[in-house]
Every structure is written in C-alpha cells, then in structure tokens.
C-alpha cells in the first residue's frame, strides 16, 4: 500500500531530474533525492498548496560497517490526509556535508544541529551552527552516533562557552534561569532578555541530561530494548514502549492480536489520563490557585494507584512487550476500572466547574503565552500544544494504531493558542480518554496476548512507527543490525519539536507569567535530551 500516490506523482513530475529512486518502506513512499536538490524538493513539499508537507522527523543513519555511507531521511506529513512521505539522500565515502533545508523550513533547525553534533555531518547553509546536544565541554570531534565511536568511551572535559544571542540596549537585562531550579524540575536553562518585566527574547538551552539513549539502543537486541524505551521519558512509559514495540513488530512481521491491541489502547489512555489531570492541577498551581492543584493531585494519585493495582507499576512499566502485551486484565479488574473512572469523572467534573467559574483564574490563563497558528505551523508543532493552536493532528485518528481504528477518538481542537486553550485541550482529552477506556471494556475481544514473529529482519531493514502519546506524536525509527541487534534507533519525543516553539510563545509576555506558559506546554527534558 502506498498511501500518498498522488503526492508522489506530483513531486516526481516536478523533479524528474532530482529523484533517483522511488520505493516504499512498510507502505510509506520514499523518494531518493540527489543531495544538492534536497532543499528545493523539501521547499516544494512544504509550500505547494496541494501538499503542504510538515516536517515530522529528520534523522541520519551511519551504515558502516556494511556500507561506507551516511543516509539522511526526511519524513513529511502532508496536510490533506496526513499521509506520510519520505525523502532520502546519501552521503558517500568521505562526504561530510549536506545542504541545509532550515532556510526553507524552520522545523528542521534543531534536527540538523542534532545531526551535526551526533554524526559530525555539517548542514551547509544552516543559519545557526552553535552546538545543541554536545555541550561545549565535549572535546572536539566527539560524535557519539558514529559507528566507530565506542559506546562506553569516557570523554575528557574541555573549556568552552555557549554564545547566547545578546540584545544590547539601555535597561536590557539578561535573566538566567536553571539548569538548577528551586522546585523539583528537570534541568533546563532558560535565558531571558528583558526590559523591565516584558520578555524581549527567550533562548532555551537544554540537553543537560544527555544519557546517550540512542547509542544504548544500538547495544541491545531488538527484542530486549523495551525497558530502555520505557525510560526515555519516565512519564511516558507506555507511549514510548508502544512506539518501539510497533516498529520491531513491523520488522518481524508480527500481527498483534486484537486483544493485545485493545489492552495497549487501555494502558495508553490510562497514561494520558493521569498525566493530563496532573497537568491541569499544575497549571492552576502556577497561578497560586492551590485548591485545584490539591484535588487534581489527589485524583492523579488515585489513578496511579489504580495503575499499580492493575500492572504492579504506578508508571505502567513492563506492560508492553514485542508482539503484544505482557499482562492480561480480568473481567473483574476491568469492571473495577470502569467503576473507579466513573467516580473519578464525576469528581473531576466538579473541579472543572469550579475552575471555569473562577474569574481570577481565567484572567490569568486567557491571552497568556499565545502561540499563533502560523508559528505553530512553521515549527511543525504537534500534540496538545499544536491542537490548542489550531493544528488539527492526532495520530490516533490520522494513522490509527493499536485499537484506534475501531474506537475512533474525537480530537479536541482550539485555536486561541493561549494557556487556557492548552488547558481546555487537556480537559476535553480527559473526558475522551475515559470514554475510550469504557469502549475498550465493552469491545475487548478474546485472544492471545503475545504473537510470534514471522521472520527475523534482514540487517539494514528498518521501520518507522508512530504513537500519539499524551504529549503528542512519538516517533521511532528502528533499523535491524546483525544477529538480531539494533543498528540504529531514532527516538523522537514530541518535546524535541515543541521546545523551540515555547521561545515564541513567551515573547512579549511578562517574566512572572513564563512558569505558567512553560507548565501549559509541560514538555519533557529527558525525552528531549536523550
């Protein structure tokens, strides 16, 4: 199945010279493009009114030792039917440079810097070639995702300083915040340039907790890396492990049983539920409205205890496995889930009413941290943040996985792009999650939990999988290596895409409103830093 045939034909017709090969990877059409033509093709895909492709992922693969080439892959999501389209290009032999597409597509900005840091490939024409992942204390020439870089090498420490963008002028101050904070927050550095209270510029400097996750994947067997994927971002265990498992299942040709698909849906929605409820409370707490925070905290705790009773893990770890799910739920357990969720929904609706009725709270949330639809589109913003800014994308509907083809979730969409819109997306999704869990209980088919693999993947075979986690689109690219090992695993948490956008949402707001804006995005630092 090739799902974007008209688009492929359109691009082929426009660039007969540039395209060297057309193929399909697990149903996703892939155009191999000559290196020098890449920016024009990407620009065409992005701006052509019939295509309006949004860059969803950009990753590199080092094919050594099998072949002496690097491959760059660009995944586009087309606007109309949310079809996927892949562009690919190769760097042979000693080539270390590729043309940057960032001047045409903002969304490629961080991806290209990441590739430069981790592979040592230089995007020519990139407007901002400061280091992103590799902080300045990493020695020159250390690019950990090159195949000849040993995973356990201990790096020395060198001196270096990140050049923040400066704003000069009378009364302009810089306010550095983090990476160590007063509260229990992950490490991230925010550099504000302010004139009085209004923010003139915000620069986000992350990647303080680079753990080498992608390198660690390469040391693992395909079937054994699920626990690692669960720990990419601790609050998204199900989302990440599901995306990983799906990719491996595609490689092994596993047909997951309907029962396992339903159970995966249930766990994914449980994860969405407790995180969203926690977020609603945290947003209220940042306006000093502690009442809603206390109650949302209580409900989140109830849900996590429910998780614990169902699976033995408050964070739903160990639920997914390659081929299906690792544990079953009895009819009695499911009935209990429904009873608890019914009570919880009633409880939550009461809080919702109180929150909506509170004028002082609404006043804080409205018009704060507006991310306009245009900027959201330019930066390919996704997930909750995107849906609050009019970006109508949800993989559960657009590219159904697990049991979503049957369950058909309703997608929340708001256009104001302020903190309140982001909270309302969450509120709607909380109710929708509860509805979906009820549907799962009603329709849960019988069947086995784990399906056997049909075949072992050839070295070099790869698959792309996507899951709509509670933050947004989680993408995994898994490429098989020799002897059942992983050759390359690209992990993309939605936070990596949405972090740059927060710099725009904060502009023109006052400094004391930034924590509120940040909380309404609630992005992962671990999932971003990898």
């Amino acid at each position: 199945m090739i799902d974007a045939r008209p688009a492929v034909e359109q691009v082929q017709a426009a660039f007969t010279q540039a395209i060297t090969e057309v193929c399909a990877v697990h149903g996703v059409p892939m155009l191999r493009v000559k290196k020098q033509d890449l920016p024009t093709v990407a620009h065409f895909l992005h701006t052509n009114p019939g295509l309006r492709g949004s860059l969803s992922l950009l990753w590199a693969v080092d094919h050594r030792p099998r072949e002496a080439r690097y491959e760059l892959c660009y995944l586009f999501t087309l606007a109309e039917r949310k079809d996927w389209l892949l562009l690919a290009t190769d760097l042979h032999g000693d080539e270390r440079e590729f043309p940057s597409i960032t001047p045409h597509l903002h969304a490629a900005k961080w991806y290209e810097r990441e590739i430069r840091d981790l592979f040592g490939l230089v995007p020519i024409g990139h407007p901002d070639l400061r280091r992103l992942v590799r902080h300045e204390h990493w020695p020159k020439g250390s690019h950990p995702l090159k195949r000849d870089f040993p995973w356990d090498r201990v790096l020395g420490r060198v001196q270096g300083e990140y050049a923040f963008r400066k704003i000069h002028g009378e009364g302009v101050f810089e306010v550095p915040v983090g990476p160590i904070h007063a509260g229990i927050i992950e490490p991230g550095h925010f550099r504000f340039s302010v004139a009085g209270e209004p923010i003139m510029q915000l620069e986000v400097r992350h990647f303080w907790k680079h753990r080498g996750v992608e390198k660690l994947f390469e040391q693992q067997q395909l079937t054994e890396a699920v626990p690692l994927s669960e720990r990419v971002s601790g609050d998204t265990s199900v989302g990440h492990s599901l995306a990983y498992c799906q990719a491996v299942e595609m490689l092994q040709g596993v047909e997951v049983s309907p029962r396992a698909r339903y159970l995966r849906t249930l766990f994914l929605e449980l994860e969405r539920l407790h995180n969203h409820i926690g977020d609603v409370g945290a947003i209220c707490n940042d306006t000093a409205y502690a009442l809603a925070h206390a109650h949302c905290g209580r409900m989140k705790e109830q849900l996590m205890q429910l998780n614990d009773r169902l699976t033995g893990s408050r964070f739903l770890r160990g639920v997914n496995c390659v081929g299906g799910v690792a544990l079953d739920l009895s009819g009695l357990q499911l009935a209990q889930v429904e009873v608890e969720l019914n009570a919880l929904e009633q409880d939550f609706s009461d809080i919702e009413k109180i929150v909506f009725a509170n004028a002082s709270l609404t006043e804080r949330l409205e018009n704060t941290g507006i991310l306009t639809e245009g900027i959201a589109w330019d930066h390919a913003v996704i997930g909750v943040v995107g849906r609050a800014s009019g970006i109508d994308r949800d993989l559960r509907r657009d590219r159904p996985f697990a049991a979503y083809d049957v369950l058909q979730p309703r997608v929340a969409l708001y256009r104001y792009g302020d903190v309140r819109a982001r909270m309302r997306v969450r509120l709607d999704e909380i109710h929708e999650s509860i509805r979906l869990i009820r549907e799962v209980r009603r329709g849960l088919p019988l069947g086995r939990l784990v399906s056997r693999p049909m075949h072992q993947p050839q070295p070099g075979a790869w698959a792309l999988s996507a899951v709509e986690g509670w933050r947004g689109e989680i993408l995994y690219v898994v490429m098989a290596g020799d002897a059942g090992r992983i050759h390359r695993c690209k992990v993309r948490d939605p936070s990596f895409v949405n972090w740059p956008a927060i710099q725009w949402a904060a502009l023109g707001n006052i400094v004391p409103d930034f924590p509120l804006i940040n909380k309404s995005f609630n992005l992962s630092y671990a999932g971003n830093d990898l």
Binding site: E197, A290, R364, P515
Partner: protein
Amino acid sequence: MQSFIPIVLVVVQLALLLALSPFVVGLIRKVKARLQCRRGASLFQPYADLAKLFRKQPVISSTTSWIFTAAPYIVFASTVAAGLLMPVFVSHTPLNFAGNIIALVYLLALGTFFLILAGLDAGSAFGGMGSSREAIVATLAEPAMMLSILSIALTAGSTNLSTIVHQSALMEGVVVAPPAHLMALAALFIVTLAETGRVPVDNPATHLELTMIHEAMLLEYSGRYLALMEWAAGIKLLVFLTLIVNVFAPWGIATSLAPSAIAVGLLVYLGKVAALALVIGVIESMFAKLRLFRVPEMLGAAFILSLLALVFFYTLKG
C-alpha cells in the same frame, strides 16, 4: 510598684509578638490545607522551621557587602519596634512617648527599604527582580495605607494609635461615619495582603523563582539570617493584623490595667487575630494570584477607597 507596669507591658507585648507570629503563619497554612482537603503540617511547624534555621550555618555569597548581613537585623528590629508602637491587647501603648502611627508606618518602610537593598546586594537576577517588584508594590501600598489610617486618625482627632484605639474602644464618638470606616478598613485590608506578600499579590508557597516577590529577595539567605527574615515577615503580618483588629474592631481590648481586663483583652485579641488569619486563608484558597501588572490596579483601588473614606468623613460629619 505602679511604675513597673509599663515596663512589664513592654516585655509582655514583645514576647507576645515574637511568640505568636509563627503561629499565625502556621494557622493560615493550616486553613489553606484544610480547605484543600489536606491534613496539612502542624500548627507549630513554623517554630520548628525557625529553630532549625537558627541552628544551621549560614552561607554568604562572596559578592555581597555589609548590607547583606546587616539587613536581617535591621528588618527584624524595625518590624519589632513597629510592633511596640501600637496597642495590642491593652489600649495603652507601652512606647507611647516614642512615636505615633506615622512612625509605625515608616518603621515598616525602613524594613522594606533594607529588604529591597538586600535583594539587590548579592547581584543575582532573581533578587533584583524581587526588589524591583517589591519597590513597585511598596510605593503604591504606602499612600493607600497612610490615607486609610489618616481617615481614622481624623475621626479620633489624634495620630496617636493608643488614643485612637482607646477612644474607639470606649465608643467615644469615633464611628461618626460608618461608610468611611468600612472603606478605610477595606483599603487597609488590601494593603495588608500586598505588604505581607499574600495571594493575590504574591504567593508565599511558590517555588517558581520567576514569579516571586518577597521570596525572591530572600533567595540568597540561609541559616540564622533567613530565620530572622522569615520571623520578621511573620511579625509584620501580625502587626498588620493587629492594626486592623484594634483600629477597626477594638471592642474587648483592655482599657484599664486591671488583671481581669487584661485577661479578657488578651483572649479577645487572640480570637480576633485568629479569625482574621482564617479570612486570609480563605481568600488565598479562593483566588488565583493577580498578573503582576494588575497589582498596581488593585492597590490603586485601595487608594481610591481610602480617599473616599476621607471624603465621606468630611461630608458625613458635616
């Protein structure tokens, strides 16, 4: 024997201010916790916190000057001194001779001034932000506070707090204009929330450095210096609460030095302060914090209210 009584009163009032202030802080926290369906920390937790801080070794940034280490003592001393200039449970002020209500207001302002300097002293970005915000709040709160107190002083015909409280406790024609009285009360209450860093102006419970006002100025403090600052903040809160209850609801305060009158005065005072702390706790649970640039609007409203109180006083007295 008689001449000892004022000295005893000073000591008792001082002890009361020092001992009661952490309790008031704990009480407000408890009220908030209960309203959130939480059990909350013990009412005496602030005492334990202070004791712990006093035992800890302070860490002082090498970029600070003498102001940084002197400020906690100045803030603490000026706040305590302000507390001694007003009647607490006896309408006679122990240090009656030393100053009137204007002295009280400016003793508190002296503390605020040094607090602002201390926030700037370490040269951290957060301290500077806190100081700049505190300066806005303090400048706008001060006129509202002065006017509201002035309207009461005019009614009593004296700026001496002891006289004001004594007269109104005996109901000697102080409440000639109840609307003026109510408006002045509302103004002073708003000023209290702003000056003591409560919701909706500041959030004493936050860990978000970027949103802080009062806490941001204290970020660099530790050990006994932090303890003094925290304690002074508690005393300041108690001073404001005492000012409100005694000026606007002085009923029950001891107007003589008879032991029975003093006992009743003390009990009534404790009850009234507890009730007011309850009100603050409820307000903190009901409202979100104001956006920073809305704070001047709220303090502006307080100023208008106190101005109206003055106008009403003159027109109704008429």
